[in-house]
């Protein structure tokens, strides 16, 4: 029982017995963690520097880029780089689809937690999960073949429009917003019981007690949906028309930052000014992602009050 080997040799750390496998394992996982950090940092740095090329190297004016509505990068005599129509398009589809999807998503969440908790969850939850599972190109394809002709025929315009984009996005971000269900079910039971005990109806309880209590989480879910909408590329691109003019109403065709990038990255020359402006649009997308993250963090901190 160790009497043959003296205690000092058995029990003290030494070069020989110092947990060799242990060190190897620890280094392995630390490398993985480091890779994750470096991936994030390199994405930021690479996209940042490349995105700034058009301003720094090609002399495109930042203000013109952000505010001018004239987009004519191929005009040899007088190239114009006003990306505002696309910026506007991105924000417009994002906000509008959030407005459409939020009531539906939150309503669905409330349905699952308050109105029909037992079977509502069993049916609606898998339905929502299946909706998530549909790839975005398929949404785009259905939008193209079903929605666009429908809008053209029954509502007006070309069919390729802001409206079509908003409808497609609303359906796509609906599941994201419905994750608000978790927020609703996390509300303490005594909140409801207290309200019912005072004689309130279910709707009054929901409206006056539960929604205000869950508000930061509900807003977080909506913001998450908006972040998703802002970054969606292919589905929107297939139905929105992709014109470079600012839309004047919902039925006008439009474009977003993501759709312009998608369409033009392929046929512009790497290194050219036009190509560089696409990277600048990508930079805007990157920056907006950070903005959304900060917004969500802010909302989460409010929840902890």
């Amino acid at each position: 029982m160790g009497k043959i080997i003296p205690a000092k040799e058995r029990l003290l750390k030494s070069e020989k017995n110092w947990m060799d496998g242990e060190l190897r394992g620890k280094i392995l996982v630390i490398i993985c963690a480091v890779i994750m950090i470096s991936a994030t940092i390199s994405i930021t740095i690479f996209l940042g520097t490349k995105g700034l090329q058009s301003f720094i190297k090609n002399g495109v004016s930042l203000i013109e880029f952000l505010t001018s509505t004239q987009w004519n990068p191929t005009n040899k005599a007088n190239p114009e780089y006003g990306a505002f129509p696309f910026i506007f398009g991105s924000f417009a589809v994002t906000f509008l689809s959030a407005i459409v999807a939020a009531p539906l998503g939150i309503g669905g969440a409330i349905f699952m937690t308050e109105i029909a908790p037992s079977w509502g969850r069993k049916i609606l939850q898998p339905v929502v999960e299946l909706l998530v599972g549909i790839p975005s190109v398929v949404y785009g394809f259905i939008g193209l073949t079903v929605l666009v002709p429908f809008v053209r025929g029954h509502v007006g315009g070309l069919g390729f429009s802001l409206l079509s984009g908003v409808i497609v996005l609303s359906i796509m971000i609906l599941p994201t917003i419905t994750t608000a269900t978790d927020a609703m079910s996390a509300l303490p039971k005594n909140l409801r019981e207290g309200s019912y005990a005072l004689g309130a109806t279910r709707w009054q309880t929901i409206r006056k007690v539960l929604i205000p209590a869950a508000l930061p989480s509900l807003l977080t879910a909506v913001v998450l949906g908006m972040a998703r909408a802002f970054g969606e590329a292919l589905a929107v691109q297939m139905v929105i028309g992709n014109v470079r003019d600012l839309p004047s109403n919902l039925l006008d065709a439009s474009a977003t930052l993501t759709t312009i990038i998608t369409l033009n990255m392929g046929h512009t020359t790497y290194g050219s000014v036009e190509n560089n402006t696409l990277w600048s649009m990508g930079l805007i997308l990157l920056v907006m992602s950070f903005v959304f993250i900060l917004l969500i963090r802010y909302l989460s901190s409010r929840r902890k009050m």
Partner: protein, 295 residues
């Protein structure tokens, strides 16, 4: 009573919302499957695609989708699990851990097109590889990493603490405990999570547009040498996946039977994702049964 009426109306509205959502899904699914399945035949699945003429199939695209997924998982799973093990077992609460969590959060929120652009910049241009399966897999790894880390971390943390303590108390090192006690225990949850993540990756297109490309070279399926240019297993070749194909036939618009090819492809895509989900659920329930049965 006014409030009672309001309550009834509200309940009606909520039920209507639920019905709308359900109808949406049923409608979408039936449209995809009814319209699409009639174009899916063995021929469709095994014929090469066509760029100009009608009658193209999706053989190469289907293979590419699975192969890109496979390579992606080959990279993302060890990386993600390593990160998960670090976060669950080695990370001490503090600045560094917060930074890692923020990085994961950032990676999870980046739009896939942005990651595609990064992939274009680094894996296509800077390396000089051009459009490759490897480039696409690396881009998809970045997209997938946050989910795998989260799934892994949750699974590892839910392994009961006394199992870990039992192993350590017997004089077994932490790393060996992780390898032989914790990971095997966490395996079912990790597997389920990975399969679900695979389902999501399978339908991804925006990130692959600029990394794996829009074309596939002529492939000789009998050639299994991964270094050969005509082998489908070569990871340094461009590879249009099924999802990308749907987009490109609708946008390039050269073939006359766009709708048929697209709806067939869409049906195959959606069914594949469905199968992944069902597989994950099925494995999850088998393993749960196995664990609770022995108790």
């Amino acid at each position: 009573m006014k409030s009672k009426t309001a309550d009834r109306i509200a309940t009606g509205v909520f039920i209507a919302i639920a019905i709308i959502i359900i109808t949406l899904l049923v409608g979408l699914f039936s449209f995809i499957l009814v319209n699409g399945l009639k174009h899916v035949s063995f021929d469709f699945l095994t014929s090469p695609s066509s760029n100009v003429r009608a009658g193209g199939g999706i053989r190469d695209q289907l293979f590419n989708s699975f192969y890109v997924l496979f390579i992606t998982m080959l990279i993302a799973i060890p990386l993600g699990l390593g990160g998960a093990i670090y976060m669950a077992e080695y990370a001490k609460p503090g600045k560094v851990t917060d930074i890692i969590r923020s990085c994961i959060e950032v990676l999870a929120s980046l739009p896939s097109i942005v990651i595609g652009m990064f992939g274009l910049l680094v894996f296509v241009n800077t390396t000089g590889w051009g459009y490759t399966i490897l480039g696409g897999a690396l881009a998809l790894t970045i997209i997938n990493l946050p989910s795998i880390v989260r799934v892994g971390e949750d699974a590892i943390r839910s392994v009961p603490r006394d199992l870990k303590e039992a192993s350590l108390a017997l004089g077994i090192t932490k790393w060996h405990t992780i390898k032989t006690v914790i990971l095997p225990s966490a395996f079912p949850s990790i597997l389920t999570g990975v399969i679900l993540a695979a389902g999501r990756v399978f339908g991804e297109a925006a990130a692959l547009l600029f990394t794996a490309g829009l074309s596939t070279p002529r492939l000789d399926y009998a050639n299994w040498n991964p270094f050969s240019e005509q082998s489908p297993l070569n990871i340094f070749r461009p590879a249009e996946t099924l999802a990308v194909h749907i987009w490109s036939v609708n946008t390039q618009g050269l073939i006359p039977d766009v709708e048929e090819v697209s709806s067939g492809s869409a049906a195959v895509l959606v069914i594949s994702v469905l199968l992944f989900n069902l597989l994950a659920r099925w494995i999850g329930s088998i393993i749960t049964k196995k664990i609770t049965a022995t108790k």
